[in-house]
Symmetry: C2
Subunit: 239 residues, 2 copies
């Protein structure tokens, strides 16, 4: 049985201009791997409606689920909710339950609801809210797309809200062997091993340390005994 | 005049599994911005030939230039050069000049050329080599695609080799104003300002500090005097 597949769509000019370094991709990748969901593709796009709509349609029709980050705050450049409504041809408006969450939060913290903050209660028709324990303004799930905030602490809290609702697969197990041997001398035996264990995936990640070449060899698979057998064989080859 | 556009294709299972945190996207984004080239899209894909070929074709036909990272080493999972040849329907084989570079390097460092290392001299027909002052094995440019290593020190050296050969545009200038005001109170005035200065792009990046909400407002544009006028107006609004 194959694992469920997923993609991520990172939305924001600030990532593409180099102003901000994305932190969410790496976090989501790790969480999905633990859950046995295969992250197959990530796209990063700017704050351009046509590009966002095209990207989410392409990803949502290719993968079992899609996770977006960014663009759901109160300012004029926060256009993700409208783009999701457009992508799935849904109406979008302020929704009573989302508005009530925000109103209660502003009442409790002595701030005022205004037009900008009310934008964060705009939710496409038929979407399900995603809980935001950090700063209240909710994300939402529309069809197979989970729409979340870009601020890392909020993104992570929303991922924690969404993941238990998804069907996972067999988590990917991995073992790493660190070899102080140049990758060019590892490649031949490793290629043969990869053929002998074609149910596993093997990667080689080179490094230099004090002028000496080495590589971390990572062997991944669903069956722990097979991963173990392969890494043992590899270790013997370079003993 | 609009700036040249660019995209990036990050290739590697290790990024999507969360094992490795990509460092090259942020670096490339910053370098391109300095050069006046607009990075418009990034895709991250795994070590799957069909997906790599489809992605590079889509990006190369949409943007002025494409930068790839990863998958050009000596091991069996290094399939980027073959995928680029397939994407552009070119033959691929060991090339004499690339082989000579590697041979000289191995002779000098007392290592042996073998079949695996020779793979790094496989270059698609008609490509131009990209200099690698760090570890010698070259990248290459094929049509409008610059194919580079994933190891950050090598990636950065290759970017430094390629960038001077590209036509840049007007670098994007930016100024940032840090406001200790909640984003919901900034959004209204900022939206109006964005309408008044519609040649500039304005982004709001919220944070919390000691329980107080604030936001960094970043105003970007090609014309420094306009950026300056807009940030001055914004500062007056919140003085």
């Amino acid at each position: 049985m194959t694992n469920p597949t997923a993609a991520m769509l990172v939305i924001g000019d600030e990532i593409l201009s180099g102003r901000t370094r994305d932190a969410n991709m790496h976090y989501l990748a790790s969480e999905l791997t633990k859950q046995g969901i295969d992250l197959c593709e990530v796209r990063v796009v700017g704050d351009a409606p046509d590009v966002i709509v095209a990207a989410v349609r392409a990803l949502a029709s290719t993968y079992d689920s899609v996770f977006t980050s960014g663009g759901i705050g109160p300012t004029h450049d926060d256009i993700t909710a409208d783009c999701m409504a457009a992508a799935f041809e849904r109406a979008i408006d302020v929704r009573a339950d989302a508005r009530a969450l925000l109103q209660a939060h502003y009442d409790a913290t002595g701030r005022e609801m205004n037009a900008a903050r009310l934008r964060m209660a705009r939710i496409p028709e038929g979407a399900v809210l995603i809980d935001n324990p950090v700063s209240v303004a909710p994300g939402f799930t529309i069809e197979n797309v989970h729409v979340m905030a870009g601020v890392p602490s909020v993104f992570q809290a929303m991922v924690a809200s969404v993941l238990p609702t998804l069907t996972g697969g067999a988590p990917l197990l991995s073992q790493t062997l660190r070899l102080m041997v140049g990758e060019g001398d590892i490649a031949g035996p490793l290629g043969q091993l990869a053929q002998d264990f074609d149910d596993l995936s093997m990667g080689s990640y080179p490094f230099q340390q004090d002028g000496v070449y080495g590589a971390n060899i990572v062997i991944r698979g669903r069956d722990g005994a097979r991963v173990d057998a392969a890494i043992t064989r590899l270790a013997e080859l370079f003993a």
